[in-house]
Symmetry: C2
Subunit: 188 residues, 2 copies
């Protein structure tokens, strides 16, 4: 990618919401996109599920109500950031269509949904955070895709498949979406 | 101020926390500082009490517990932002020393406290948001400085007096603090 695009106060901002199963690659891809945007001098903020669970939302559990409140708070932070010209990349499982519909309502045309798809078997095989192992040992309940539902987004703005495509290809397609939606002079 | 300082990924960031009575000028000064920083190409995020109360913290009231949770959540968002190179300007009454001590603990050397001082009489006279009128009519309770305490910060990093100094002078002093703490090439 070409370097040297200066930060402009007038650039468009947007919220790019990465949804998908645990282990699908949401954190990896949102971090990589943020790195690329920063190299272009564009201000961006990554909000990540695991990080927020330890801070902003550490009072919340994994019931449907608490998961919705988790997503609500992050949506509000995203709204604040984007309103001030900061591109916001959010990596959250966001399992239910009702949660994503609420984000779409709240953020309107600033909301762009990226479904990070990966088959459950492959997520379990990767198990980077050893969570699937903990689930199978009965140490974690209400785990998305196991004993808690994940509703596949029907019409995301983009769907990447981290099982069929490598990170570079997924990232290129994500950067193309971001560039197109924000009218950025970035050639992925 | 000179223009044209490019955003660098490597610039220092920090949290500048504006504390003071309602009407003292926290929002005005934090917005003005943000504008000046953005003109220098520096990414910043303003978190404002009134705005957060309508979004991120709209489930909270004004009891001491809820006020502390309000400040806690904003402190977490500030920690996230500053960790990603975004300068964070927070405008919250933050009435108790215990709340400010918690922020100092959480944000460590990235926390810089600005006490926006203004006498209660002058705040009541300004009453931009018609809140003091509502309090005197008994329509609002637990209002800071009236029937809820404001503990004056003993050792803020900076104290400005919006009764004795005009906005320009307060802003110059605030920008000097920010420039000094972050090592920014800004001449206020």
């Amino acid at each position: 990618m070409e370097r040297g695009v200066r930060q402009k106060t007038g650039h468009k901002a947007g919220v790019f919401w990465f949804t998908g199963l645990s282990g699908a690659g949401k954190t990896t891809l949102s971090q990589a996109a943020a790195k690329a945007l920063r190299e272009h001098g564009l201000p961006c903020l990554v909000l990540d599920g695991d990080v927020c669970r330890k801070g902003l939302c550490r009072d919340l559990g994994f019931s449907e109500t608490d998961r919705a409140e988790n997503v609500r708070r992050v949506g509000e932070v995203a709204a604040l950031s984007v309103g001030q010209g900061i591109i916001c990349l959010c990596a959250f499982i966001t399992p239910l269509e009702s949660m994503r519909a609420e984000l779409r309502r709240r953020l309107a045309q600033q909301y762009h949904e990226i479904h990070v798809h990966c088959g459950m078997q492959e997520c379990q095989r990767r198990d980077v955070k050893h969570l699937y192992a903990a689930v199978s040992q009965g140490r974690i309940a209400q785990f998305t895709g196991i004993d808690s539902p994940y509703e596949v987004p029907a019409h995301p703005d983009l769907r990447v498949d981290t099982q069929a495509e490598d990170v570079e290809r997924c990232l290129r397609r994500i950067m193309a979406l971001i560039a197109e939606r924000l009218g950025l002079p970035i050639t992925p």
